[in-house]
């Protein structure tokens, strides 16, 4: 039998409060948000922290969802994504992983590096600049998600790309929201 206890212990040690793997469908997105909402309520987290965690999570998941709507994955398992939320003493860590086409990697890196190089005021200006000029993509995303995550969390966004198979890479993203 698979050692579930082992998985449990590891998640406990790493302060994981939620782990999910699978396709992020529309109805699932609603359920995840509802679940996290309840969990934050239960932990009687400060309303500021709660709103920031919720917003960051929302943008992360909608980025994945929107990307899946426009990309043509050859195989079904490439639609599978991972979501992990850790609550350490000083922060919530929202961590996602999903497959992206290799052709996207440089664009994403450039975008996150640019966002990470800006301070709070510059992020505000950058956000407004994109808001005013950018026409939304057909899937509805306006390309503001990453900037918003950086603004709301007040932290640099961590990322990693892992070569996975042929034309795809596994894209991991971590946003750390401080606990007030």
């Amino acid at each position: 039998m698979l050692d579930v206890y082992n998985y449990y212990k590891q998640m406990q040690e790493e302060s994981v409060i939620l782990y999910f793997k699978g396709e992020i469908t529309n109805s699932l997105l609603t359920s995840i948000l509802q679940m996290v909402d309840d969990r934050l309520e239960h932990k009687s987290e400060d309303v500021k922290t709660k709103k920031k965690v919720f917003s960051v999570l929302l943008e992360c998941l909608q980025n994945i969802y929107n990307y899946q709507q426009v990309s043509e994955f050859g195989s079904e398992h490439l639609l599978s994504a991972a979501l992990m939320i850790r609550r350490t003493d000083d922060a919530y860590h929202i961590i996602t992983g999903n497959f992206v086409e290799n052709t996207m990697v440089d664009t994403l890196k450039e975008k996150i590096d640019r966002v990470n190089s800006l301070d709070a005021d510059e992020l505000k200006e950058f956000y407004k600049e994109i808001l005013v000029v950018n026409e939304p993509t057909p899937s509805g995303g306006a390309g503001l998600g990453i900037i918003d995550m950086a603004r709301k969390s007040g932290n640099k966004i961590l990322y990693h790309f892992e070569d996975s198979e042929n034309e795809y890479s596994f894209y991991s993203l971590e946003v750390k929201v401080p606990i007030k």
């Binding site: 309303v47 500021k48 509805g140």
Partner: protein, 125 residues
């Protein structure tokens, strides 16, 4: 023209647009993944409304959350009101935020700096 009255859902805000009173209210959560689909009927309504507006127009934003996909739509609605104001109609905007919700306050300020309209930031206590 017909007024718009929509119940809020887990993803979309409650809407009350009244062309007789000129009171337009949007409240709750605006987090649809495809915001254009939700907002298009509201854009259409506003386009009609500004042709024959009420004497005074007050647009109230009382949002708990909105995603980045909605922020573009909010800006577009404000731009329509900007047109109204340019034609010398009384037009005002109230942007509500909870006490201590700096992010929502900041968002109000973002729009304020982008739009030439009287946007009042109102702290809810």
């Amino acid at each position: 023209m017909e007024n718009i009255k929509l119940e809020g859902t887990g993803r979309t805000p409650e809407i009350s647009f009244n062309s007789q009173t000129g009171n337009l209210v949007i409240s709750g959560r605006s987090i649809p993944e495809n915001s254009i689909a939700f907002y298009q009927p509201l854009f259409d309504w506003l386009d009609e409304y500004i042709k024959k507006p009420s004497l005074d127009t007050i647009f109230e934003f009382n949002l708990e959350y909105f995603n980045t996909s909605s922020s573009k739509c909010i800006l577009d609605m404000l731009r329509k009101l900007e047109l109204l104001s340019e034609r010398q109609h009384n037009t005002s905007v109230k942007w509500y935020f909870d006490e201590g919700d700096e992010d929502m306050e900041e968002s109000g300020n973002d729009f304020k700096s982008l739009i030439n309209l009287d946007i009042e930031l109102v702290m809810k206590s």
